[in-house]
């Protein structure tokens, strides 16, 4: 009983020990915040990757693909039918995309993906990331007559967002306007004669557009692979959905700007499946823009209808009309082990021809890097708490020395060495509990108000903590895991107790007489 009583009294009277507990408090608070934020980011990332890719990706190793998606799908259903919630064939082909921006040609290296409108929504959440509400319901590769979102539909707090004013006229209105402007320019060129080098030398030199040949071919009225009487004001090419990273950029103030809008045309060059390989150009009309918040996807993928892409690449067998495909994306039922199904499929399809991966396999390096970061951070922060342990050890040692006579008295009254040791171990334990407890409350409070704190810091220092042009999140994602918090607190308390062992043992072994005589 005396141990408990003395522990409590020491806790209340010795402020110096409480001060050395501050390291433990800060360490615990920081670890909780860091782990929550990392968990939040990782979860967001994983959710988006999983959302885009589906659970399993079944790929053909050849760029020309394999024949008959339906047959393959049937076989996959045979093997893993019960687990499959959604399945959709696609064609992936590396390509170059050209966007005409006021006479300048913007070239982007993208992966052109042909998707089956009917089934793609069952495997990928890609539909959620589109800008037009009607397309989010059901994607159709048709240009809409306005109504595209002017604000990011995925943000939780609209008040923080900058308006994407260009989107106000996106769709048919924008297309018609651009067609009208082109007609005006053309008629102006006819009335004003072109530059004649033979005439006056002091006429201004008009810069020659080196991409004029290709740029000219993008102009709808200059004629494309289709017939010359294509009217952009009333007709579109095959629809394409671009990633926001391919046609737009974010300014440092957080506003998004687009170089091409739904209604504009783009040209894409990609190889066909014939031998020798031919490269063809196809013109597409932008029908929507998707924003998955993962720059890897937003800057690299553009989507077109599967059937049209197959036709362009010569992937459709002329007699059977069956198309080739390069990959099948599969969504599994919840709680199904993706790795199990992957292994089942791997056994069924020869590895030289087909590559089957889970979404984690595809993004392995990225996720592993994040895991490692988290692990390293945890180790470093735990070191801080361990350092605090040494502080506790030193302070306790001094306390034991200070209390030498008291320990002598306790022993003269019949306290055992074990009992005296128990006082100091108990003291260490209670300090650990107080420190970890306060640290936990601080950490949880910080996490709950992390966005407000980040804003405050941004205002004080003048620099935004999370630069919106770099990070796609408008709010910092956090996930507090009770297990992690518990482990952190237990670890901190353990360190406090371990640090008190040495001084406690010294107290236990003090000789009563020498202790009583201590000056």
């Amino acid at each position: 009983m005396y141990k408990f009583l003395l522990c409590l009294r020491y806790l209340r009277t010795r402020y110096i020990a409480l001060i050395c507990i501050i390291s433990v408090t800060l360490g615990v608070a920081t670890m909780i915040v860091v782990n929550s934020v990392m968990a939040g980011f990782t979860h967001e990332m994983q959710a988006r990757i999983n959302g885009m890719l589906g659970d399993l990706v079944f790929e053909c190793r050849s760029i020309d693909g394999a024949l008959d998606a339906d047959q393959h799908i049937a076989k996959i259903h045979q093997i893993a039918g019960d687990s499959i919630q959604g399945i959709s064939p696609t064609v992936h082909v590396p390509s170059l995309m050209y966007i005409d921006v006021r006479g300048q040609l913007l070239t982007k290296q993208v992966t052109l993906v042909g998707i089956d409108q009917a089934s793609y929504a069952s495997v990928s959440q890609f539909g959620h990331y589109l800008q037009h509400p009607a397309n989010r319901e059901q994607l159709e590769f048709k240009l809409r007559d306005g109504g595209y979102d002017v604000y990011d539909s995925q943000a939780s707090d609209v008040s923080q967002l900058k308006e994407r004013w260009q989107m106000k006229t996106a769709g048919w209105p924008h297309r018609r306007q651009m067609a009208r402007l082109k007609k005006q320019r053309q008629s102006q060129q006819r009335t004003h004669p072109p530059y004649d080098p033979g005439k006056a030398k002091d006429q201004p030199v008009r810069a020659i557009n080196p991409f004029a040949a290709i740029a000219g071919s993008i102009d709808a009225d200059a004629g494309t692979s289709q017939t010359g009487d294509f009217d952009p004001a009333t007709q579109t090419h095959v629809g394409v959905v671009l990633g926001i990273g391919t046609c737009g950029y974010r300014a440092p103030d957080g506003s998004d700007h687009f170089v091409a809008l739904p209604g504009d045309d783009v040209k894409v060059s990609f190889p066909t499946t014939s031998l020798p390989t031919k490269v063809i150009n196809e013109a597409y009309t932008i029908v929507d823009v998707y924003e998955s918040k993962m720059s890897e996807y937003d800057s690299n993928f553009v989507f077109v209808p599967l059937r049209e892409l197959q036709a362009s690449r010569g992937m459709i067998d002329p007699e059977t009309k069956i198309g080739r495909f390069t990959s099948i994306q599969i969504k599994l039922a919840p709680d199904v082990d993706a790795q199990l199904v992957r292994d089942q499929l791997r056994d069924a399809f020869p590895a030289q021809l087909y590559s089957i991966s889970t979404w984690r396999d595809k993004q392995g390096p990225l996720l592993a890097a994040v895991q490692m970061e988290t692990a390293v951070l945890n180790v470093l922060l735990f070191m801080i708490i361990a350092v605090a342990g040494f502080g506790i050890l030193a302070i306790f040692y001094m306390i034991v020395v200070e209390k030498t006579r008291d320990i002598g008295i306790l022993k003269s009254l019949g306290a055992s060495g074990r009992g005296v040791m128990g006082i100091f171990l108990g003291y260490g334990l209670s300090l650990g509990i107080v420190g970890a407890g306060v640290g936990m409350l601080m950490g949880l409070a910080f996490v709950a108000n992390i966005n407000e704190i980040a804003d405050l810091l941004g205002r004080i220092t003048g620099q935004p903590v999370f630069d919106p042009s770099v990070y796609y999140f408008s709010k910092i994602p956090t996930i507090v895991s009770p297990v992690t918090v518990a482990w952190i607190c237990v670890g901190a308390i353990l360190i406090a107790v371990l640090a008190s062992v040495m001084p406690a043992r010294r107290a236990a072994h003090l000789h009563p007489v020498r202790a009583l005589r201590y000056e």
């Binding site: 005396y2 003395l6 009294r9 022993k411 009254l413 306290a415």
Partner: protein, 272 residues
């Protein structure tokens, strides 16, 4: 362990009999035989006790006198099993106690011996009442203490009243005077109804009049409750108030006729 020690030391007659002031050379309450003790100061061994044979009789008030630093306190510590002799034995109620394991000696100090010191040694973080309760707090587990706390608190308050500190129960030691602290220490020593009270220079840090008060208290305890008291002091006036005096000179005891402070006599040699 408690029970074993209790069984090993049979209960003798209760100490609360009214016995006359002069102790009967009857029952030996405590005894030592051939005690040797030396201290190490670096490489040098300083012999302190060189063969002490003495007897403490039941109910007597014994005073051990000698120069400062001559080993009186050491002898007292050995009697109270706070320390262990290099050679020789210590007996309590006929049983040898110096060789007992640590836990048994803890019980002896907790239940059968009461100790007071020159520097009171109250725990500064506890109130006066809690200090008096200390022996109970030490020997009882949390549950045990909790179930008996009323009894203990009653007894502690009784003792505090007896020593005249009834109104100071909630005060911390730093709010008490020297005399009051020593009185609290006496109350603490008596909590478990010990059989022997060991006092190491109890008035050493007090002025004359306060010291007198303390001595009065001790004499009262010895007389009214028959408590055996062994007191160590260097002050012959204080020593005089005991029933019997033994002198510690050069590591050995002499017991002469009662010496008065006015007429100190030289020791006449070794007497057992």
């Amino acid at each position: 362990m408690n029970k074993l020690v209790e069984a090993a030391i049979p209960r003798t007659s209760t100490p609360s009999q009214n016995e006359s002031r002069a102790a009967m050379p009857g029952l030996a309450h405590m005894a030592t035989r051939g005690l040797f003790k030396s201290y190490q100061k670096g490489a040098i061994g300083i012999p302190v006790l060189q063969g002490i044979d003495m007897t403490v009789y039941q109910g007597e008030f014994l005073s051990i006198v000698g120069q400062s630093g001559c080993g009186k306190s050491t002898l007292l510590h050995l009697l109270g099993t706070l320390d262990q002799p290099d050679a020789g034995e210590v007996y309590f109620e006929g049983h040898r106690i110096d060789h007992l394991p640590g836990a048994s000696r803890d019980v002896l100090r907790n239940r059968h011996f009461g100790m007071i010191f020159q520097f009171y040694h109250l725990l500064p973080e506890l109130t006066t009442l809690e200090n008096v309760l200390a022996p109970a707090l030490i020997s009882e587990s949390m549950l045990g203490y909790w179930s008996r706390r009323k009894q203990y608190q009653l007894r502690a308050m009784e003792l505090l009243d007896m020593v005249g500190l009834g109104g100071r129960a909630k005060h911390k030691p730093r709010e008490l005077s020297g005399g009051e602290m020593q009185r609290a220490a006496i109350a603490r020593a008596l909590l478990r109804q010990p059989k022997v009270l060991l006092a190491d220079e109890p008035t050493g840090n007090l002025d004359r009049s306060t010291g007198e008060q303390i001595m009065q208290m001790l004499r009262g305890l010895n007389r009214d409750q028959g408590l055996t008291i062994v007191m160590v002091t260097h002050d012959p006036f204080i020593a005089d108030q005991a029933d019997r005096i033994v002198r510690l000179v050069e590591g050995r005891l002499t017991e002469g006729p009662l010496e008065s402070a006015a007429n100190p006599q030289r020791p006449s040699g070794l007497i057992a």
